[in-house]
Amino acid sequence: MRKFKSLLVAFVLVVFAASTLLAGCAKKTEEPAKQEETKKIKVGLVFDVGGRGDKSFNDAAYAGLERAQKEFGDKIEVKYLEPSAGGENREQLLRLLAQDKYDLIFGVGFMFTDSIAKVAKDFPETKFALIDGYVPDLKEDSNISCLLFKEHEGSFLVGAAAALKSKTGKIGFVGGMKIPLIEKFEAGYIAGAKYINPNIQVLSDYIGTTGEAFKDPVKGKELTLKQIKNGADVIYHASGASGVGVIEAAASQKKFAIGVDSDQSLTAPEAQRPYILTSMLKRVDTAVFETIKSMVDNNFKGGYKEFGLKEDGVGYAENEFNKDLIADIKPKLEEIKTKIINGEIKVPTSKKELQ
């Protein structure tokens, strides 16, 4: 009975705690009026899970933010946030920024699609930019701008490059999470390789089925070694931070790796650089920068913005480390690029289309 009493006390406390919490609800606190005189444009950015430091997608978005900060200096004020590990508070973070009167808010990654659509409806004065995601039925005067990339076009180019460089007639692809977005990279890559050499064999592997697949360099390394053992001598990855392992494995076997999203020759260790053939660039940084610029210039437009080869939104990387490496294939790549831009080559967008 005594035990019962102490538990009763505990229960009363729970109810008490819950009711005081709810009592807090009843009071509506007013935000103190902000005495901001100089009208700065406030730019907020919410990363996807993983945040800065993935040397790939999120970092590219950050690079765009940084460039805008440098260029526009005191005209803008920036802030970036990162969701909790499960990512279930994306919507809450976007909403907090909107409530804090941010003018332009980025959601980095297609996982933000629904959250942005919901929050944007509640804050019609705030502008939102969504990277990689598609919100239906937007118009130019909508407050959402979807920044969409044609990754398949860039992948087509590096696929062609891989086929041109391959001596064994076998090349590899290591994807991160098995989702349509990554399969788009794969489809473009295979099509590009087959364009050069119809008989080429492409070995494809995916690291996993969860978001973890984008930060598992160990598995990336193992899959790459397996592909090399099976004869592949150029390996392209679309696996975010897992790609570090892919590049490491290729370099250790003196085979070529192809980076993704950012120019990975620049961030790789010195010893690995000679083995990075090129990188498929996805200019998330440009997209972020251009969107902020449109805010500063006061001509933000809603709707859909495409970033393909034509817009320089995707492409292949050329830098001081791989300049000589790709010198012999560059004319061919440029030729293909022109053909894609003027529509002579139609790049498949999914594996289904490829077959």
Partner: protein, 369 residues
Amino acid sequence: MNKRFKIILLQLLTPIVAILFAVVLSSVLIVAIGKSPIEVYQTMIEFSLGRADSVGAILFNATPLIFSGLAVALSFKVGLFNIGVEGQYFIGAFFAAFVGFTFTGLPAFIHLPLAILAAMVGGVLWAFVPIYLKVRRGVHEVISTIMLNYIAYSLIHYLIADLFMDRNQKVPEGLGSPLIRTPHFAESALMPKLHGFLSFFGIDLPNYVYLNWFFVIGLLLAVGMYYLLWHTPFGYEIRAVGSNPKASEAAGISPNKIYFKGFLLSGAIAGLIGLSHLLSFYGYMDLDFPKNFGFNGIAVALMGNNNPFGIVLAALLFGFLNRGAEGVQTFMGVPMETIVIMQGIIILSVVVAANILGRYVKRLEKKEA
């Protein structure tokens, strides 16, 4: 009697002392990243408790953790470690999702309970394998449940991304990517929010707070579990087997039977964990469905000392920490990593303090006897 009072007082004070200790320790961390601890804590508290939407968010955050804490605690009580709560709630959530998008045209009072029932069936199913292996083949449940968690993740991925993916999403040729999710659920499968009920008491929650009736169900479940454990013969058997299986066997209780029932019940509760999010916030199940509620449930159960009411309090603390984290991140610029460390310190302090206190109380009780 005096001693009894002392024990209760100690039980109430320990978590508070532990939290204060954690606060001091975290302050060092905050100073190290060049912020003022006082400002950070002030922001955290004002932001979390001073706004209606924050309080609603805290209760919403706490809801799945109440269920998962209870599921884990029940298995602890029967003397088993159900590490598989994680996998069980994923399977449960998918079962509910399946009911949600498959049936249309059902009235809500049938559809919603059906979805909830399906979730429990899913949880029980996923709990059945490890407990069967344990009772019949002596396979340790920690190993089998951990492995089944991985299987659950991958199975759900296959079901969502291949079999049941919503292929009617509008995505233009070659641009963007469709979301990997099931079709939307019928309206009748969704759990109503608490807003209407609360406005009855003059409390107005903004409509973007997703606090719903699952919170109330969680509280009721805590009361129910308390009653079950301490006021029914079955509860007595659970506690007896949990504290000494051999002695209870000698007393005529079959431990294997109790293991079986207790574990399946734990699985049934686990099946409900994801529903508060699934049936009010999302309205579909996608690849990004929140993970880790199951694992956090272990921490919640430990912090709550396996007591249903302690679990509710621990879940509320977790909810508060998560909401506060959003606040200090947005308004104080404290990076996410720092906040995760702070949360870890607080949880660790409370668990350690509770353990120390538990031993001290036992010693006191022995002296008394």
